[in-house]
Structure formats: C-alpha cells, structure tokens
Amino acid sequence: MTFRSTGGPPDPELPRFRMRAGNGPPKGLGMQQKLVDALYTVAGIALFFAVWWIAASQLPRSRLVTPLEAGRDLWTNFFYSPRLGVFGLGKVGYGSLLLYTLSNVFIGLVTGGAIGILIGIASARLKLLRIFVDPVVLVLGTVPILVAAPLFLLWFGVVPFTQVLLVALYSAVMMVLFSQRAAQNVNPVYERWAMTFGAGTGARMRHILIPGTVPEIIGGLRITLASAWGLEVFAEILGAPSGIGQAIKALTNLSNVPGLLACVVIVAVTAIVTDILLVVLMRRVAIWA
C-alpha cells in the first residue's frame, strides 16, 4: 500500500497535478476528471445502500429493515401517522414533527449564534471582555450542555422554549469560540493598511474584520448546526410537545424498526440539506474565499 498525499504548497509549474511516484500523469483531463469524480460519488452512494440492503437481508426484522421498507414507512407516515396519535401528539405525521424540530433548530441556532458571534468578535479585540468571556466559555464548552437538558426541562417544562434555549446556549458557546478564532486569524496587516488610509475603528470593523471572518464563521456554523440537530432531537426525546424526537421515542416504545429508521433517515437527510444550504450561502457571501 502506498500513501498518497496532496499536502504541501502547490508547484507553480504543475497546476492541480498530483504526482505519484512511479506512475504517469493522471488519466483524466479536465472534463474526464469531473466525470470520474461524479462516478465515484454515485458508486459511493450505491455502495451505502447496497451494504444497508445486504445487512437488512441477513438480520431479523426486529433489528433492521431494507432501505425500501424504511422509505415506504416514511412515505405513508409523512403527513399523518395514526400510530403517533396514541402518544398524545395529535393528528401529526413525520412531516409536521420535522417542521417543529427544524424550526427549533433554526431559531436556536440563529439567536444563539448571533449572540455568540458578536461576543466572539468583540472579545477578540477587547481584552477586558476577553478575560471575562474565556473562562466561562471554557467551562461551559465541555459536557455541561447535555446535563443542562434535564435541568431546563425541570425549570421550564415541556414547552418549545426548553429545547430552543438548549440549542441557543450551545450555539452561543460554540460561536464565541469560532468567532474568536476567526477574528484572530484575520491578518493584522489588512487593518494596518486600512489605517494608513485613515480608516477608523468602525470602518475597519465593517470593511475588514466582518467580511474577513465570514468564511471561518460560516464554517463554525456548519459544525454547530450538525451538533444542534442532535441536541434538539435529544431534548425532544427527553420531553417535548412535538418533534421528530418524540416520534423516535414513541416508535422505540413500540419497537417499530421501520418507523425508527424512517425517522433517523429523515433527520439525516434534513441535516445534510441544511448543511448544503450553508455551503451555498458561504459561496455566495464569500466568493473571494
């Protein structure tokens, strides 16, 4: 086995060419390369489903079912699932529950994230704020968020606010960390150059610091979003008026494997889609990056 690496500074004479010891130039040329990439992606996705299918055919139905069955369950239960009505969730289907989850994640991420970004960028520049913020974030940044879940449930009850608060708190802490790092990574030479043109603090913030941190902050948002999904679902399983987490809880009690798989699939798909949306946003907002 040989290890290939793509690291290191690009050679100006060899644009986008991967050198391999002992082999010739790559078979692909431009368009061909893109085709090969696409083929690999398709094959990879097919591989995933193939493995799932084979595993499902070898395991009992109480453990795993085929992707087709999970898909069928998803389809029939999307708008209305009679099963779930038994659990006091009302006349709902996976779709409306997903909407609840999605909106909680969105609200929590946006509010917590905004606060975190502001505090993060500000504390990167204002030493006094930094001294205060750092230790708090360090302590809150480890396990605590999860143990806050049952605590919030005790305090605020089985309402949407409980989950939103959890997600918002987590988002704020994470975005403080990411924003601090992003602000620190903006090369000070840009601001110094701006100062030679007479730019004041506000102008430098607006034209250098904020645009300069956008790519890294969106990167941080992606990571936070991915975890926020899990946090929200978890909080819902603990106790919530609605949400996919509640469906998961109900279906677990019923030992309904197709339904469980369908719920996990729908959460995963939505998480992937929202992630892609963030990437698209990044490309539009920070074309220069």
Partner: protein, 254 residues
C-alpha cells in the same frame, strides 16, 4: 561505465499536463542532454518553463510521456538512492532530531546504529552543525535547516545530487553562506550535481556548466569557464559578464 561516457543521459523527454481549467500544457518538449561525472550543472530558467519538471523526471518523481533517462546506463523508473535530492520545500523531518534526520537514509538501508551515527556526525561537522546535533528542527533557522538537508543528502553518498531551488527562501547573506557549503562539499566529494535555479548570479557562482530551459526546451547549454573556487571578482570579468548577458537574454530579460 567507461570514463568519458556520461553518467546521466536524458533522451527526448516529453511531459505534458492539463491545467485546472482543462487546457493542455507542454512542460517539456523533447529535451535531451548528457552530463559527465563530476560536473556541477546549473539548470536556469523562469518559473513555469520546465526546469523543475525536468529535475523531477530525472529524480524519478515524475514519469515522462516520451523519452527516457539513464543513469550509468540503467533506465530510471522511479526515485532511487543513486540520485539524492535536496528539495525546494523544507523536507527536514520535524519529528526527528537533527542527527537522526541526517542518519535517516542510512537507517533505511539498515546501516548499523553505531556506523550511521558516526557518518551522520561526520557530515554534520562538515556543514558546521555538530553542536546542534541533538536539537529539534524547529529550533533552527532556515539556513541551518538547509545545511541539515545538505548533510543528510551527502551522508547517503549518492553519485548524483539533484537540487530544486533549495536556497530560494533564504536571505541574501545566508544564501551565499549555504552556497559555499554546498560548493565546498561538491569539490571535496566529486559528485555530479544538477542544480535548478532561477537566479542567474547563483548559477554563475556555482556551476561548471549552465543550461537555460525556456518554454520546455533547452535554449542554451554552455560551460562556465571561470576558475573554481569562484569569487565575485572572477564573475565580474569580461568573459563572465558576457556569459551573464547571454543567459539574461535567453531568460527574456535583455
């Protein structure tokens, strides 16, 4: 191999690439040359004109689409211990102390510990770095790391040495010091050196022969008939200046 026969022979090498946007690029277009044992050949050229590509083909790190390279009559199919390389990027392993870096090539060939450390110390002494043998590379300056790379390559005793703009990142004074180190080790050991650079002055100070590569072809191939060891005064003679103007012309500067 008979005396008089070239130690390195490059025949009709052709290398093409495809750029990121899909346009094909011919980096080397039928390049041939012979190098005799003991020469210090400087390969001069502008960035992007093929000199690094040529070096990589000789080193065996890159396969050409046409043509062949022979070292002592044997065809080159990949990298080998007969061709030592000093890289453009810093290749000193940061996780090994200086001494272990220099001894690495010997270790790989299963030389005994006692022997390889002895050889490593000997070569560190030659480049003036024995006092920092136990240091980590991150504690050294760029010039010192360049000297470690030189010591490491010479410690393996390859007949041919390939250098790809190894001193480009160093400041003027350090560069001249390290050039002197390389030149003195070359004179001491009589190896064959292929040295890629874009710096005309560097080529004139170091080489016994200079080859200008322009647009993937050899534009000029001349012996440098200036005395060795060479000083600035030797280069600033009418003969030296004439050569310099010729080289600058071939590089597109005059």
């Amino acid at each position: 191999m008979n005396p008089g026969e070239p130690i390195l022979s490059v025949r009709d090498i052709r290398v093409g690439f495809v750029r990121a946007d899909g346009t094909p690029v011919l980096a080397l277009d039928g390049v041939s040359l012979d190098v005799s044992s003991g020469e210090f050949v400087c390969i001069l050229g502008r960035s992007g004109h093929g000199k690094t590509t040529l070096l990589n083909v000789v080193a065996g790190l890159l396969n050409a689409q046409r043509g062949e390279v022979r070292v002592m009559h044997l065809p080159v199919t990949g990298p080998g211990t007969d061709r030592g390389v000093i890289f453009q990027q810093d290749a000193v392993f940061p996780w090994m102390r200086v001494l272990d870096n220099v001894a690495f090539g010997l270790r790989v060939r299963n030389v005994s510990r006692q022997e390889r450390l002895r050889i490593a110390r000997e070569h560190l002494t030659l480049v003036g770095l024995l006092p920092v043998a136990r240091a980590w590379p991150r504690e050294l300056s760029g010039g010192m790391r360049a000297r470690v790379a030189i010591a490491a390559v010479f410690a393996n005793n390859p007949p041919i040495l390939l250098a790809d703009e190894p001193f480009g990142a160093l400041d003027y004074v350090t560069r001249r010091q390290v050039q002197a180190v390389l030149r003195d080790l070359w004179r001491r050991t009589g190896k064959t050196v292929l040295f890629v650079t874009h710096d005309v002055d560097e080529a004139m100070m170091l080489g016994t022969r200079v080859i200008v590569v322009s647009n993937g072809r050899i534009a000029e191939d001349r012996a440098i008939e200036l005395p060795m060891p060479r000083s600035d005064d030797d280069v600033a003679t009418p003969a030296g200046l004439a050569l310099k103007h010729l080289l600058l012309h071939h590089m597109g500067l005059e």
